[in-house]
Symmetry: C2
Subunit: 480 residues, 2 copies
């Protein structure tokens, strides 16, 4: 495809893209299909001969778009929202054409130095002190894995060099996180060879927040048993209920014990842009590492996760390698070779889309949108609280409301199934997509606000659909 | 940014993108700057107020583009090429606007099933049998890490559950790869807690190919010492010289020993699309896992790495976790939840760009381009062989030529410095970017052909520049 053909094709693609954004709210959020129904729509083999772009794009319209789950839909309130702003999409377009690989300074000077700049812009915006530096990874899973790998080295295990197996000198290693901490922490323990067994789940209080005293007890018990604590993970905004672990108290414990503190603020960290809401985060500046995901509540297209740390040297200890074919003849010292800090060698130029977005929104623009989402969640929480048939199952520190239908006339044994049926009905409406969790063992519907395109009317509609579905479930169940 | 504003802005961006592709060959491949010169060009903080797109894009033209290393430049022959085709860039545009996250079937039915389709298209194209299934990851580093994590589980270590530390029952673990294997294998051992110490580097022959007898000896010695071999990595196309390990013989050893065989064909695997060149790969179908990178020689924008395996169950053993908030109410079994197979939860919809590219090029179109690159490398190798002042340092099975200036009149002690100076001069020309390695301890210039936009004249020009630089070095050195 020469540049002229590319120009024509890309203009045609842009019209498709703008049409999509214009009409996405009219589509069903979830495609009304069952698993396995798509694969057979495609040929078994790639074509031998080239096909025309017209044919391919017509198939894109026919086969791809209608079968997507529409993360860009204003009714997408499942999981945590991940919506791509227009500015972010423009960023991805420019990222694709430059096709940088900022693994070394030499392989992308601007990719490298712009990442340093943008990481620092975010650090300042979040109100974190100078000592924090960092990088952009693909996902919070990777950011937390990198943090725990650094913690593993900082604890003096020499895991990256000597390894963990068959070492007489090495105690069992332990990582602490709340019972509500995200599965990515457990997965990082699996990947790093610490094993799921290394993760000690600390009980939470009735607000789903880690209890520092229980953490103290667990660490003391492990030390007494000859195990070696290497890291604590505090979550600011857990996945199920967005609960906020008491990070200042936890930081005190980490400091006393001399172990790494990692803060998982993948979802809620964006709220620290708002000065008036920083109380949730007090103490996180004492962490060794912090993850905040721009591809969640900062409207950046997937993928982009920010990892900040005060101990970049420990990331290097975990990941730096210098084979000859990656050495360069630069006369000055590279500003940074980002590959020294991650499990991957190659990487995308994620800084570019963030640089464009941060300038296009401005910090004020981001604060305004995030603040509005928090307000919408508060309004929904109030509506739930005001309805005697509904129950709110957790505090709402940010923008996610945990709720269930719980009329007094309904037997407790029937509540979980009723709420599963309600959520399923709402999701099948195509107007809204919600996900669930369990809190204290109870089936909990989550309404997660944070999509760039979600407005008050969409949240109101979600609430209306929930109550409609409850009425249907009640009628079907023939309750008294 | 509403859809109308996005439409206008994106059309403006497309013109910039097409202009870039039209003019990239006129830019210096490497920006003529020193490390540290860019960071100061940007403000210390993100702006408070929004800025206009015109301002931002003007800065993009002024600050970003001139300071990029131009991977899209036809003179980029460093490392292994990674060039983004027009079709691939279109794919990235559509990926960005759909913003799918195919972590679960439910979160992107089409992202999930299309990935199954495209992975199978590539498998068939590469001539691999039915038993291979797989996924797309970000990089070969991740693909190899996933493979070795699966190997770790397949060996019965229970690393993902029990962990590797403080286990009386666990022998020291060992992974085998050639002295020329890529650093990503070593990094995977670091990340996985196996440690660099677990990687046994097997000597290579004079063609830089792993010697199976040496592998036999190493495994036997480790077993005798009570260590547990868990994986062998065979490289088809090493980074320094593109040497080809004897995979059939190695597969025989892996089968006899009952350990995992991973094949790193990140660069050269694309050549298996050409039936007449499959002899290099004979035996790879006996591997447990294989990595081939579409973002190298299949012209896909960064990032996209293909991991194929016959043992998907072991990937699940290494990475599968099912917290409640990731469960869905789908009535049928999901086709696949890709997050079960990787260290990351979230992921990009990489399948879309590959689907577009594979159709746009057709397998024939890809074969023709790859075949042409191999021909260009052969021509350069012949030119080097014909010049008495130059020496070729390795066979050329694919498209990378390893060479150095080695006139008889030059003292051996001066050869390395002279070649470093030659490469540096060529790179400073701005017309061509080459990288180096060491083979048998000797400074080796690599000319890596595989960029979509590289034509015969660019390779000829690289050769001309090398000889010119040698003449200058010789004049400066005042040789006899």
């Amino acid at each position: 495809m020469d540049a002229a053909a590319f120009r024509a094709a890309a203009h045609a693609a842009v019209d498709r893209m703008a049409d999509y954004l214009e009409s996405v709210a009219l589509r069903p959020v979830l495609p009304p299909i069952e698993p396995g129904s798509l694969r057979g729509l495609f040929p078994e083999s790639a074509p031998e001969a080239p096909e025309s772009l017209d044919t391919i794009l017509a198939d894109y319209d026919r086969l791809i778009v209608p079968n997507a789950t529409h993360w860009q839909h204003p009714g997408f309130m499942a999981y945590f929202a991940s919506s791509a702003s227009g500015a972010g999409i423009l960023g991805e377009m420019l990222v694709a054409v430059l096709n940088q690989n900022p693994m070394l300074w030499r392989t992308s000077p601007i990719g490298t130095e712009l990442e340093v700049v943008v990481v620092d812009w975010l650090r300042r915006g979040l109100g974190l002190p100078d000592g924090f530096e960092g990088l952009l990874t693909d996902t919070a899973s990777t950011s937390s894995l990198v943090a725990l790998a650094a913690a593993r080295e900082a604890a003096g295990t020499e895991a990256a060099t000597a390894g963990l197996a068959a070492r007489d000198d090495l105690a069992a290693l332990r990582v602490y996180a709340s019972a509500e901490a995200h599965s990515s922490i457990e997965k990082a323990c699996m990947t790093l060879g610490l094993g799921r067994a290394s993760l000690v789940r600390i009980p939470v209080n009735e607000r789903f927040e880690l209890m520092p005293h229980a953490l103290d007890v667990a660490i003391a018990a492990d030390r007494a048993a000859g195990r070696r604590p290497i890291a604590i993970v505090a979550t600011l905004g857990t996945t199920s209920s967005t609960s906020v672990d008491p990070v200042a108290a936890i930081a005190g414990i980490a400091e006393r014990e001399g172990i790494w503190l990692h803060v998982d603020a993948a979802y809620a960290g964006a709220v620290a842009l708002l000065r008036e809401r920083r109380s949730h985060f007090e103490g996180w500046e004492r962490a060794d590492s912090i993850v905040v995901n721009p591809h969640k509540w900062l409207f950046t297209p997937v993928d982009a996760s920010l990892l900040l740390t005060r101990r970049l040297d420990q990331l290097s200890a975990a990941f730096s390698l210098h084979p000859e074919y990656l050495r360069t003849l630069d006369r000055a010292t590279p500003v940074r070779d980002f590959t020294d800090l991650t499990p991957q060698l190659g990487r995308r130029m994620r800084a570019l889309k963030l640089w464009i977005e941060l300038r296009w929104f401005g910090l004020e623009g981001l604060r305004r949108r995030i603040g509005h989402h928090i307000e919408l969640a508060r309004e929904l929480a109030n509506a739930v609280d005001a309805d005697p048939d509904w129950e709110r199952l957790a505090p709402v520190p940010f923008s996610t409301v945990c709720l269930r239908w719980r009329p007094e006339r309904l037997a407790e044994a029937a509540v979980d199934d009723a709420n599963a049926a309600i959520m399923d009905a709402v999701n099948r409406s195509g107007e809204v997509f919600l996900s669930h969790t369990r809190l204290d063992g109870r089936f909990t519907i989550r309404v997660a606000i944070g999509n760039l395109r979600t407005e008050r009317r969409h949240v109101e509609r979600a609430w209306e659909l929930l109550r409609e579905a409850a009425r249907t479930v009640e009628a079907d169940a023939d309750l008294p």
